[in-house]
């Protein structure tokens, strides 16, 4: 037993988590018109937030704060009291950190450090000595324990978890970094025009809570408002900043194409297993849907489907979220169909993303491009 109140220690109970959802999400266009990045649906039954949140919980973190900026109604609905992640606790648990600064006289939004600053009491009051700060737009299943041990043993000021890409993808944007032979970070840039390095930041930063408080104070007092650019990159020369390589599957959602391809990538059994089975479960809000029903006329090949679907048509290389209905004679190919959408009889869909609750009436034909899927907005009727 590890007494939770005991100060100090190398246990994960001495680490708090912060998920920074005060990020720009406009790159997802129609998908983020009415929701924040963290609540973008992903992988047939999840929302992006489920990955960083489950990773923290599976790593033994018991205190998680969620920084919010805007359009967080659907996120709040999804998270609730944190029960699905076992974070509905009397001590520690899930903390929703809304943007208190919006009530201030000068309302122009300056940057995510404002969100940190307006919730500084929560950070100060938490009993943990260390903090892991993460972003919701990276999908992976990572156990933070070994990265945290590396952070302690190497006596780093900041540890950044990164992944070395086999090939650089040009259809999306990255925060790239360069390290020396000992993995010390010597350069780091956000979406540079020329893509320097194959090492990309997974936007997971481990540091002492005291250091985070100092960074917030230093930056804010100098009129700097960007956590990554000012708080982290601005300190690379001054602090001991090291990288920690992550070797399993990770995908960065920084563009529509990236979002589309990352979803379809789950159709590879090795990715499915890497992401869902290797390091503990990814938790999400349960919906109590019945198992998915494949009727006589159905034809399904290479698909990922959540519960509650009724499939009577043909579906190939696609992702079906909960409660999707596919009528007889419909053909769906290389598409992402979100919750409760309905595909009418004899419809043809290829390279399409249907947001939640879309109804495609009979005999329609919709096509996007492999590199630029067609997105149909939430609750549309076509």
């Amino acid at each position: 037993m590890t007494p939770e109140d005991k100060k100090g220690g190398r246990q994960m109970s001495n680490v708090m988590g912060i998920i920074n959802n005060a990020l720009d999400e406009t790159f997802l266009e129609k998908l983020t018109n009415h929701r924040s990045l963290a609540s973008v649906p992903f992988g047939a039954r999840y929302r992006l937030i489920d990955f960083p949140l489950s990773n923290m919980v599976n790593s033994g973190i018991k205190n998680v704060g969620l920084l919010l900026e805007s359009k967080y109604r659907s996120l709040m609905d999804h998270i609730g009291p944190g029960k699905a992640w076992d974070l509905d606790r009397k001590r520690n648990g899930m903390f929703i950190l809304p943007p208190a600064h919006i009530y201030q006289a000068n309302r122009a939004y300056k940057g995510d450090l404002q969100n940190f600053a307006s919730n500084i009491d929560y950070i100060k009051r938490s009993s943990q000595e260390y903090v892991i700060i993460t972003s919701p737009n990276i999908v992976c299943n990572i156990d933070y324990r070994s990265a945290f041990q590396f952070h302690l043993e190497n006596e780093n000021d900041i540890t950044i978890i990164y992944k070395e890409l086999p090939v650089f993808r040009r259809d999306t944007t990255y925060t790239v970094l360069n390290t020396d032979d000992q993995d010390r970070v010597i350069d780091m840039r956000v979406n540079p025009a020329k893509n320097y390095y194959k090492k990309i930041s997974l936007q997971r930063y481990i540091m002492k809570k005291e250091l985070l408080l100092k960074i917030i104070d230093d930056c804010v007092s100098m009129g700097q408002w960007d956590f990554l650019k000012n708080g982290i990159i601005g300190n690379i020369d001054k602090l001991k900043v090291y990288g920690y390589p992550f070797k399993s599957y990770a995908s960065v959602i920084n563009s529509i194409t990236g979002y589309y391809k990352s979803n379809l990538e789950l159709l590879k059994p090795e990715v499915w297993q890497d992401l869902f089975l290797k390091h503990g479960s990814i938790f999400t809000k349960p919906k109590d849907e019945a198992p998915t029903e494949y009727k006589e006329s159905s034809f399904a090949r290479n698909i990922l489907a959540a519960n509650g679907c009724i499939i009577e048509g043909e579906v190939r290389n696609s992702i079906l979220f909960r409660g999707v209905k596919v009528h007889p004679g419909a053909h769906i190919k290389n598409s992402i169909i979100m919750q409760k959408s309905e595909i009418g009889p004899n419809v043809y869909l290829e390279n399409v993303i249907l947001d939640k609750g879309v109804i495609i009436t009979g005999d329609k034909e919709l096509r996007g491009d492999t590199n630029y899927p067609l997105i149909i907005e939430k609750n549309s009727i076509v």
Binding site: G43, A44, L277, S281, A290, P291, A300, R301, A305
Partner: protein, 392 residues
């Protein structure tokens, strides 16, 4: 007004011995069903959907899995500040303790629990039937009839009447006679084991029955006949929808096959009457390029690489490449190896079937038989399990 108008008492202590290997390790209400559920999810969800928020669950036989499954009842929205779900195993009282002798005795031994809430009505349920029923409609019926007790009944085929407790009723649906498994039935209304009683009246009958040393402490055998003899107002409430008692291996298998087909009688997709269950939290299921899926129900976390026809596949199952499974019920986390062929079978939890096995394919049988592989069994590669065999 009492604080709780109607309290539910769910009888979940039965062994269900006719289910054989399916209840070797768990009580019958904990048996998995319909890829996503356990049997007890049906009455508990019905309670939740009917607005009954105080439910006692009476357990006795192998209760551990059932207890942890029920937890604090939050899966059925039954975690309440007052009431909610209470698991009630037998316990020691001043005069010593005793096992639950029968259905009525189980309620008798928990009179103190019911008195805590002092309800006007008590709803007695079985934990092992598949159906969706609004108990509040039955209560309305009970009140309209000014009844002392109401018994839910369902019309069964006349040739099956000798398998059920049959209620003989007059034109007003009042029950004047009860026949347990009669050879020459006068009626075809079978008791579903669902009762509503006026609590104060039931309480007296339970106490009186407990004093009789030779009583079985059973509703069907003792309490109901006693009430009929005393000329109490007991009415039959006729239920018209799908109801299935999954008492035997074959009826359990058939109830699964009932879920398939194009218009199943039991609609588990109805969002207005959700059947809740404890979420096993698995990833979405995967249908591979090599798979062929027809007429089947597939739950989350399963991976299908082979051919699946007319099957119910629970969470975490894996069907290997070139495997062919027909008319099967696959319980959670079972693994079917490459090239195996299985027909008309129930494959229980955590079973591993290695490659190229044949199960339920060979052998002869005069009548239809379901082949069963019990929990945690490993069937070695190339094995041949004949039709109707039960392993485990």
């Amino acid at each position: 007004m009492p604080e709780v108008e109607m309290l539910g008492m769910l009888l979940a202590g039965g062994k269900g011995s006719r289910l054989g290997v399916l209840t070797k390790n768990i009580a019958k209400p904990a048996v998995p069903f319909g890829a996503e559920y356990r049997l007890i999810d049906f009455p508990l969800s019905n309670c939740s959907n009917s607005g009954i928020d105080t439910v006692g669950v009476l357990t006795q036989y192998k209760p551990l899995v059932l207890n942890s499954y029920i937890g604090n009842g939050s899966s059925w929205d039954l975690d309440r500040r007052r009431g909610g779900v209470t698991v009630l195993p037998p316990y020691v009282k001043e005069g010593g303790g005793a096992w639950y002798k029968g259905t009525a005795d189980a309620i008798y031994q928990n009179i103190e629990f019911i008195d805590l809430y002092n309800p006007e009505y008590v709803l007695v349920l079985s934990g092992d039937h598949i159906y969706k029923m609004d108990y509040s409609e039955m209560l309305d019926y009970h009140k309209n009839k000014n009844a002392e007790a109401s018994i839910a009944v369902i019309e069964v085929p006349w040739e099956d009447t000798n398998r059920f407790g049959i209620m003989n009723t007059d034109d007003e649906h009042r029950i004047y006679e009860f026949q347990e498994k009669p050879d020459n039935a006068k009626n075809n209304l079978a008791s579903m084991g669902i009762y509503i009683f006026n609590w104060q009246s039931l309480r007296k009958y339970l106490i009186a029955d407990a004093a009789k040393a030779d009583s079985d402490g059973d509703f069907g055998k003792n309490i109901i006949p006693e009430m009929i003899d005393d000329d109490l107002e007991i009415y039959a409430y006729t239920f018209k929808n799908y109801w299935k008692d999954v008492g035997t291996i074959e009826s359990y298998w058939r109830a699964h096959m009932d879920l398939l087909g194009d218009n199943p009688e039991l609609n588990i997709h109805d969002r207005n009457w959700i059947i809740y269950s404890v979420n096993p939290n698995r990833p979405p299921h995967y249908i591979a390029e090599t798979a062929e899926v027809d007429h089947s129900l597939i739950n989350k976390g399963s991976q299908i690489f082979g051919k699946v026809d007319n099957c119910v596949i629970s969470y975490g199952a894996r069907i290997g490449k070139n495997a062919v499974i027909e008319n099967c019920v696959i319980l959670p986390n079972a693994r079917i190896g490459v090239g195996s062929h299985i027909k008309n079978a129930i494959i229980c939890e955590n079973v591993t079937i290695e490659r190229n096995c044949e199960i339920g394919i060979n052998g002869e049988s005069d009548e239809f038989k379901v082949t069963v592989i019990g929990d945690n069994e490993v069937i070695k590669k190339g094995a041949n399990i004949e039709i109707g065999k039960v392993v485990g």
